[in-house]
Symmetry: C2
Subunit: 162 residues, 2 copies
DNA sequence: AATAATAACGATAATCATTATCAGTAAGAG
DNA sequence: CTCTTACTGATAATGATTATCGTTATTATT
């Protein structure tokens, strides 16, 4: 139950917030699993070791952590938001391949250097041209994963929604 | 009430589907407004000239058109899906700037050539490496638009959801 | 043309993710 | 020790989307 950045909860106290058990546990869960978890995924994982936690608290906490910039919220179009730990600037950045059949999400870090360079340029130019203060971006590729190409689509239960 | 590609509804009949009035009207609406419309936006716009149409039909039709590849479904994180006409390969491609305060979406076409070139490369490489058949991609930039930077955030009514 | 088969419709109920409410608990300030 | 307020969990409410169902309209078949 330890994390790198938020350790000791200084980040919270600084803002008059408290670094409570639910918050610690949720951050910890995201830290261990490296992303793509929905609120309910997180709720269920935590439930084993901490059955009293409420789903509302999970949602509330995710919202808070997201606003604090500790986690990122993604929408891959499968009907719910998914969250992952925000990586520090120097850590390895990655983007996502989303299978439109089984919903599986594959991280990739290939090309990120070129990507990042181009995206930085774009951000700079767009900021100027449209007077738009850019905070973040998301790049998702959609397609059919290896397994689903062979008709073997037995991944996520929640396949056919939306 | 005419569109370029789907005219005469050959695309529909080819698949045993019918090119009905609701479908024509919905495509037409998307054609006229160039995108970013939610299902309800579309429903309301159509309602003036075609009050009998049902919201369920709008959703059903959008789903169908999306699967046919005539329109694209986007999720900008504001709590509902948004749709726009799929542009032909040779038409001008664009991406989106999303204001996290007022929800305004700005299209841009700057840099698309470089972008497209890089994205094609990435697609090719990822397809090979991960055995992933890539169909489409989405690139969104999130930030604060001109108006909202000045505290003047009087855009969409549906501002503060999510 | 008459009929059968089926695509599509509109209304409405159901579902599901998310948010709001509310009463109770616990941490920190004085 | 008490007061204030952040936080919690349970539960109700909301809102977007989907499923259901009886009806209508189109195409195929006779």
């Amino acid at each position: 139950m330890q994390g790198p950045i938020w350790l000791e909860g200084g980040l919270f106290r600084k803002q008059g917030l408290r670094f409570t058990l639910p918050r610690r546990v949720i951050l910890d869960t995201l830290c261990k699993t490296k992303g793509h978890l929905s609120a309910e995924d997180i709720y269920l994982r935590i439930h084993d070791s901490y059955p009293q936690i409420g789903l509302a608290t999970v949602y509330r906490t995710l919202e808070l952590l997201s606003k604090m910039g500790l986690i990122c919220k993604f929408d891959f179009g499968d009907g719910c938001s998914r969250y992952e730990l925000a990586r520090a600037r120097d850590e390895e950045h990655h983007h996502h391949l989303v299978c439109i059949k089984c919903g599986k999400i594959t991280d990739y870090s290939d090309f990120v250097e070129e990507e990042t360079r181009l995206i930085r340029e774009i951000e700079k130019a767009l900021s100027r041209k449209y007077d738009f203060q850019i905070n973040s971006h998301q790049l998702h590729f959609y397609g059919v994963c290896k397994d689903c190409q062979q008709g073997n689509n037995s991944h996520r239960a929640k396949q056919e929604r939306r």
